[in-house]
Structures are given as C-alpha cells and as structure tokens.
C-alpha cells in the first residue's frame, strides 16, 4: 500500500517517519526534554545516595574504631544526621548576630555531647575529629534529601521548571558532595585539610614559643617578628576545630586597650576556575567565612579602635578546602610568611603590636 505518492517503499517510510518525528517533537518536545533531565537528575541522585550511605558507614566505623562504644551507635548516628538548626528571627534584625552566636554555641555543645555519648573512649581531640566526620556525613545526607525532594516534586508535577532548576545546579552540587565524601576519611584520621592553610601558617610562626589559651578553643603565642611583637592566634589543634577567632581577637584587642598596629588575617580563599591552587593573594578586610558572627565581632572591634585590617589568602576550590591538604597548599606557607613580612615592614612601625590570625580548621595541625 502506498502511503505517500511517488518513490519506492523505503523513501515513503522515511518520509512518513520524518513527518511523525516533526509532529511528535511539536507536541511532546518539551516533555521529552524533561524526561532527559529527569533521567540525568536520577543518575546523580543514585550517586548521591551511594555517597551518603558511604558517609554514614564511614562515620559509624570511625565511632566504633575510636570510641569503643558499648552499644551499636548506628541508631544514634542516624538521629544525629537528621539534626537541624533554626536560625534566629530576622524581622527585627537588631542584635541578631548575638542571637545567632548563642544558637551556634548551643548547637556546638549539643553535638559535642552527642559524640561523647556515642564514643565514650574518645579524648577531646578525637571528639572534635569525630564531630567533623559526622558533620560531613550530615552535609551529605542533607544534599541527598534536597535533590531527592526536587526530583520527586518534578516527577509529581511534571513541571519542566522544577526539574530544570535542579538540573542546572547539579554539577556544582555533585562537586560539593564529592568534596564532603573525600573529607570523611580525612576527618576520621585527623589529617590536615585545605582549610587549615591559615592555622598552618600560624603554627609555623608560633612553634617553639609559649602558647596560652584564648576564649572559645583558640590559642595565642607572643612572638618577636621583624622588630614588632606579633600576637599569633589560631584554633587549638590538632583536633578538628575552627574555634571562635572573633571572640579571641576581641579579647586580645581589649587586653591591649586597642593599642594594636594592625590585624592580619590568613585564610583559605575560594579560587576561580583557571587560578592555580596554592596561589597567594593579598587584600583588605576580615578574611573569615562561616555564618558571619566572627567577622562581625572583629569588624566591630577594629572600627571602635580604628585598627587597620589586612588579609592574605591561599587560593583553593571547595573540594581542596575539605579534603586532605594538597602539597601546593602546604608549599604556600613560606610565600605567605614572605607576604606577611612585606605587609608588616611596609605598613607598621618598629615596636608595634600586631595581631596575626590563622583562620580555618586546625585538624591535624598542632602548635
């Protein structure tokens, strides 16, 4: 039977197929595109589920190995992974920083208590490391659940735009999840991570000098540096800990009645694609991440006493920041100290007191 006049049977079939293809694409093109996107999200979701499960397993294994629990910690770990924190109400933003600070303190002590209950044989260093391991597992669990939420919502509503939102950010989400996955072992074993670039520089400067404790898990050493007195601050290591540099800097400035020549902050900074890992850059401002509480406190004190603030960063990407420290980042310590010397010699007078803060996670870095 001839379907289209003229030509042989194969040509007719091909012509018919072309018409069918066009008609299908006109009516169902967007739907086909959506199914392709759903499939892509589904594949990533499977991978995220695998990573999340590995994270949970790694955390449980670490607790069993280090903490010597009397009972199986799995149920407690599952409960831990579901913990949430409710931020303060921001309708009236006055005083919100201190409210947030309080909530973060409560969260921190609650999570530490949970780890101590799960792993009774741990010392303080190991508790910090296990807490970091569990936080990485918690982040992986959260990422998985958010992606799953959008995936199911997209399938339920068959809305291209719901699926498109998640499909567009998926490469970045996967990169972050992979970074947390590689952080799990680093935290469990207590290896230095890329975020520890700041504490590593501070540790090199303060090593061999007397160290005293500062408020909220930080330490300080007074070190003679190029004819000046450097007050070097870092989070207490070698346990996984970022401390509260805001409180420490505040305390040191008050102790010295504001007579500080300069504050220099050293931190790991996110690099843009194309920039080299371990590149050192210099700038102005409080180089500190997190929820912003520490940055606020430091800026407030600096403004009160008109103290200049400088920053030096070691560039790395999010994956490098939470995974074991790369050699390039470790090798950046000496160039950072060189930059530090230049800034101090150019911008301060002999005899001045300078605060140098190594910001970041001190895991695997002593003092």
């Amino acid at each position: 039977m001839s379907l289209i006049t003229g030509g042989d049977a194969i040509t007719q079939v091909l012509s018919l197929l072309t018409y069918v293809f066009f008609i299908v694409m006109i009516f169902y093109g967007q739907r086909i595109q959506m199914y392709v996107m759903i499939r892509e999200v589904e594949n990533s979701l499977h991978k995220l589920k695998f990573i999340k499960e590995e994270g949970r397993k790694a955390a449980i294994e670490a607790i069993k190995e280090i903490g010597k629990p009397t009972a199986d910690p799995s149920a407690r770990v599952d409960r831990y992974l579901e913990y949430f924190t409710i931020g303060p109400q921001s309708m009236d933003p006055a005083g919100i920083v201190y409210k947030l600070d309080h909530i973060l303190d409560v969260r921190d002590s609650r999570l530490k208590d949970e780890v101590k209950l799960m792993a009774p044989a741990c010392d303080d260093v190991q508790v910090n490391n296990l807490e970091n391991t569990l936080e990485a597992a918690m982040a992986l669990n959260f990422i998985y659940k958010v992606i799953r939420h959008y995936y199911i919502q997209g399938k339920k509503t068959l809305s291209l735009y719901v699926i498109m939102q998640i499909q567009m950010i998926l490469p970045m989400v996967m990169k972050e999840a992979e970074a947390y996955a590689s952080a799990l072992k680093a935290f469990a074993y207590g290896q230095p991570i890329g975020d520890g670039a700041g504490p590593l520089v501070a540790a090199k400067l303060m090593h061999g000098y007397e160290v005293r404790k500062l408020p909220k898990d930080c330490v300080m050493a007074t070190v003679p540096f190029e004819g000046r007195t450097a007050l070097i601050i870092k989070a207490e290591g070698p346990g996984g800990n970022v401390g509260k540099p805001g409180d420490s800097v505040e305390a040191v400035i008050e102790e010295n009645e504001g007579k500080i020549g300069m504050v220099i902050m050293i931190d790991a900074g996110l690099k843009l694609e194309g920039e080299k890992v371990g590149e050192v850059a210099e700038g102005i401002g409080a180089a500190i991440g997190g929820p912003g509480v520490d940055q606020f406190k430091i800026e407030e004190k600096l403004t009160k006493y008109h103290i200049p603030i400088n920053a030096i960063i070691v560039k790395e990407d999010i994956g490098d920041a939470v995974s074991p420290m790369r050699k390039e980042i470790n090798d950046a310590v000496d160039p950072v100290i060189e930059r530090l010397k230049n800034v101090i010699l150019e911008r301060t007078k002999e005899g001045d007191k300078i605060i140098i803060v190594g910001v970041g996670n001190s895991i695997g870095v002593g003092q």
Partner: protein
C-alpha cells in the same frame, strides 16, 4: 599501621547495571541483529542493494548505540566510588635530614616523633608537613 593506603570502596548495589537499561540494550541488540540478517538476505537473495544498504546502516547504528549505552553505564558505575588519596608525612630533624613516609593515624603537624634521626640519633624529630599528592595534571584551557 598504615591507615591510608590507596583504596576504593564500591557498594554492591552500584556494581550491577540497571535492569531497565540492560533490557532496552538487549532489545535493541536483538533488533539490530535481525536488521543485519534481513540486510544480508535482501542483498544475497533478492539483489535489492538499496534496501540491503538501509537495513545494514540501521543495524550497524543500532548496534553501535547499544554498545555505547552499555559502555556509558559501566563507566558511570565505575565512577561511583570514593577515592581515598595517599597522604604523606614529612619528618624533619634539626640537623636538616628529612624523611617522607605514609601518614599514620595520630600524626599531626609539629608533633614530636619518637623515631631517632638516622644522622644524629640523639636529636628529636618533628613532623613538619602532612599533604596529599595529586599525580594527574589539571586540564588547562589556554585562556
């Protein structure tokens, strides 16, 4: 005990390829084989070379695509593992001698190590660096 050997972990679930994909691939492979047989028949029995050519092209394309799909699925499954990098510890002595060994649990930067220095046995050694080495070079885009 060396904790940080290069190791990979893969879940048993991830090792098998989705049944759905396998089923589709098998159907397409079967159809492409039928198409190739028909192409052979058309060419040798009837002598219709145009029909034989079309059927052969369809068969080869379908076969190639199914093999590619299978390869892609296997590659995706292979990617589903968490790589644990090799981490090294550098130990230094005051005399300047340097030793590099694999990371051991309990190591941290500026930790005093009990192992005596091979050059001056009376001095204490300390850990000066812990880092991972990445062997593969990052892709550059010449911009």
């Amino acid at each position: 005990m060396t904790q940080n050997q290069s190791q990979t972990s893969t879940s048993t679930a991830s090792k098998k390829i989705s049944n759905y994909i396998t089923m589709i691939v098998l159907i397409v492979v079967a159809l492409s084989i039928v198409s190739l047989i028909l192409a052979g028949n058309a060419f040798f029995a009837g002598g219709n070379s145009l029909t034989a050519g079309f059927l052969a092209i369809i068969g080869v394309i379908a076969l190639t695509m199914s093999v590619f799909t299978l390869y892609q699925s296997r590659r995706q499954m292979a990617q589903m593992k968490i790589e644990v990098p090799k981490v090294m510890t550098t130990i230094e002595c005051k005399c300047g001698s340097k030793t590099v060994r694999e990371f051991q649990r309990g190591d941290y930067v500026y930790k005093d190590v009990d192992v005596p220095c091979p050059k001056c046995p009376n001095s204490k050694q300390i850990i000066t660096a812990i880092y991972k080495e990445i062997k593969e070079k990052e892709k550059t885009y010449n911009v």
